[in-house]
Amino acid sequence: MKNSINILAVIGFTSLMMVSCTKKEGCMDPNATNFDATAEKDCCCEYATTFDLKLNLESYVGPTALAEGGTYNVYGTEVQFDLVQMYISNVRFVDAAGNEVASDSYQLVKPENSEYSVGSFEAGNYTKLRFDVGIDSATNHADPSLYPLNDPLGPQFPAMHWSWDAGYIFIRIDAKADQDGDGTTETAFEMHIGRDVNLRTVELDLPLDGAAGNSYTANININWLQFFNGVDLGGALTTHTGDNPALTAILVENITDLFSIAE
C-alpha cells in the first residue's frame, strides 16, 4: 500500500511537470516590446528605452502652401517653382543641459511628401530639436553608387549630387521668375546650394517629455519665401554655389530662417 501511494505521487508530479511544460512562455505585458498575445506563462519581458520621431514638414511660400509647378508672389515678383528639394540630416534632441541625442538618418525633403520617419531617440526630457540642412562632410564626398536607388543618398532624378565638384546638392530650386512684370514667368533660374561650408544647423524650441515606446510627430513649417529675403529679384537669380558667391552667401544666411514649429 505504501508503495502504491509513492507511485501515485510520482505520477502526479510527473503530470504536473508535463502541464507546466506545455504552457507557452512569453511576455504577457502588452506594454513590452516583445509582448506575445499567445503566451500563457509570463516571462522575459523587454521594455523600450527609446521613442520614435516623425517630422511633418509642410512647405509654404508666405501664407500659401507650396505645390511644385505653382506660381507664388515672392516679395512682389511672381515666381513659378518647378522643383524644390532639400536634404535634412542628423536630427537630434537637446536637453536642458545642452546634451544631444542623435539618430542617424538622411531625408530628402520634397513638397509633395510631408511625413518623414527620422528614427528613434533615447527616452528623456528635451527642450530643443536640432537638425542640419545638408550632408556631413564624410558622407558628402562618398560615392552615391554605394546606396540603393530608393535611398535618399542614392542617385536621384533630378540629380541631387554634383559629380564635377563631388558632393550632394543640399538645396535645389529650379524655377522661373516674371522679372519684367508682364504676367509670364520668362526667366528660368536655378539655385543649387551645396559644399561642406554651407551646411547649416537649424535649432527649434520643442519641449518634449519623450516617453519610451511612444511615437511623436514634430510639426514644422518651411517657408521658402524666407529663402529670398535680401535677394535682388530683378538681378541674376542663378547660382550653383561656386559660380555666384554673392547670391550663394545671401541664400545660405537665410537657411535657418526657413523653419518654424507649426502653431
Binding site: P144, S145, L146, P155, P158, S163, D165, G242, P245
Partner: protein, 347 residues
C-alpha cells in the same frame, strides 16, 4: 628584352573557377587569352596599379565596361558615347578643342587622354572628382556631354535584353549604378600605355635607340634650365600637381583648380597633363587653345603671359630654332604605336 610586369588578375570562369595569377618577369605580351581581354601588362617602369577593393580587375567587368564605353545608349538621345570624345586611335582624346556632346553642344575643356588613368590620384583637370568610379557621373549628367541621368540610365539598361543578361552574368544583379560605374572604371583602368620608343630606350631594350636630334631634345627636356621634367615627370610624365603655367593673364570663366577650392591663389591652376602620346593628342592645354607642339614650345620659350599665380619655373628660355626642333623630336618619341593600335581596347 622587355620585362613587363603583370598585375595580379583574378579570373573567374563561369563563376566556377577562381584563379589567382601572379607572374613576374614574363616576356610575352599576353599573359593568357580569354574573351578578347585577358592581359594587363603593366610596363616594368610603372608602379603597381592602385585598384579599389570593391572593383577588382575582373576580365568580365572590363569587357562589360568596354561595351558601355562605346555605346551611345549612355546619352539622353542615344547619340553620343564616351568614345565620341575619347577616341582610341588618338590615345582616347579628340582633335576638337571642345568636343561635341548631345545636339552638338560644346563644353569648355579639351578632352584629355585616358591612357594610364588608373594611376591618377584625382580625376579632372581641377581635381573635382575623387575616383574613376564617381567620375562616370560627370559626362553622364553634364548637359554639354551626355545630358542623361543615372536613375534613367539604370531604367534604360534594365529594359535592354543584352545588358540585363550581361549585368546578371557579371554582377549577379540587374543593371544598377554600382555595376555601371564599376564596369566603366575597370575598363578604363585597362587602358595602359607604356611602350613608346622612349620607354623602350629608357628600359634599355635591344635595338631601342634615339636619333641624335631626339637625344639632344631629351637632354633639354630633362635639363634644369628648361625644367620641363620638374612638372612633367615620373612614369606618366606628370607630378599630378595643380600648376599655373602662364597660359593667360586672365583665365576668364575657367578658373581651373579655383573652381573647386574658391581660393584666388588657385586661379589658372590645372593638373599637370601627361605628355604620353602627345604628338597625337592635339590641340593642347585645358581649352585646346594651342593647335600644335610648335605653339606649345613657343609658349614655354616666351616664358608665359605672367599671371600672378604663374609658376616661377615658367620663364623665358631663349631657345634656338635647332633646340626647338630637337625638343619637338623628343616629344615625338613618346608616341606608343602599339597602344594606338591595341584592338583589345576597342569594341
Amino acid at each position: 628584352m622587355s620585362t613587363p610586369r603583370y598585375v595580379h588578375i583574378i579570373l573567374t570562369m563561369a563563376g566556377l573557377l577562381g584563379l589567382l595569377l601572379s607572374v613576374d618577369g614574363c616576356t610575352e605580351d599576353n599573359l593568357f587569352e580569354m574573351g578578347g581581354i585577358s592581359t594587363l601588362d603593366i610596363p616594368a617602369n610603372f608602379p603597381d596599379m592602385p585598384v579599389p577593393d570593391d572593383n577588382p580587375m575582373l576580365p568580365e567587368r572590363i569587357e562589360l565596361g568596354r561595351a558601355l564605353f562605346f555605346d551611345p545608349i549612355l546619352s539622353v538621345d542615344s547619340s553620343v558615347s564616351c568614345a565620341s570624345c575619347h577616341k582610341p586611335e588618338w590615345a582616347f582624346t579628340d582633335h576638337a578643342s571642345f568636343s561635341a556632346g548631345v545636339e552638338g553642344r560644346l563644353g569648355f575643356r579639351n578632352a584629355p587622354t585616358l591612357a594610364n588613368v588608373a594611376w591618377a590620384p584625382v580625376m579632372l583637370m581641377d581635381g573635382g572628382s575623387p575616383t574613376l568610379e564617381q567620375q562616370v557621373y560627370v559626362p553622364l549628367e553634364d548637359p554639354h556631354e551626355m545630358d542623361f541621368n543615372m536613375v534613367l540610365l539604370t531604367e534604360r539598361l534594365s529594359a535592354n535584353t543584352y545588358y540585363t543578361q550581361r549585368f546578371q552574368a557579371v554582377f549577379g544583379t540587374a543593371p544598377d549604378p554600382f555595376g555601371i560605374t564599376r564596369a566603366l572604371a575597370a575598363y578604363q583602368r585597362s587602358i595602359i600605355s607604356g611602350n613608346s620608343r622612349f620607354d623602350r630606350y629608357a628600359r634599355k631594350e635591344p635595338g631601342a635607340t634615339l636619333t641624335e636630334s631626339e637625344e639632344r631634345g631629351r637632354e633639354l627636356f630633362f635639363s634644369p634650365e628648361l625644367s620641363c621634367s620638374s612638372c612633367h615627370n615620373g612614369f606618366h610624365f606628370t607630378s599630378w600637381e595643380f600648376i599655373n603655367n602662364g597660359l593667360y593673364t586672365d583665365y576668364g570663366l575657367d578658373s581651373g583648380r579655383a573652381r573647386i577650392t574658391a581660393q584666388p591663389n588657385d586661379v589658372g591652376k590645372f593638373r599637370v597633363p601627361t605628355l604620353r602620346n602627345i604628338a597625337v593628342t592635339f590641340p593642347y592645354m585645358h581649352d585646346g587653345s594651342l593647335p600644335d607642339l610648335e605653339a606649345v614650345i613657343d609658349h614655354y620659350d616666351n616664358g608665359g603671359q605672367g599671371h600672378p599665380n604663374q609658376d616661377a619655373r615658367i620663364k623665358p628660355l631663349g631657345l634656338t630654332s635647332e633646340q626647338k626642333t630637337d625638343l619637338l623630336h623628343f616629344l615625338y618619341t613618346l608616341t606608343d604605336n602599339q597602344f594606338l593600335r591595341n584592338t583589345s581596347l576597342v569594341e
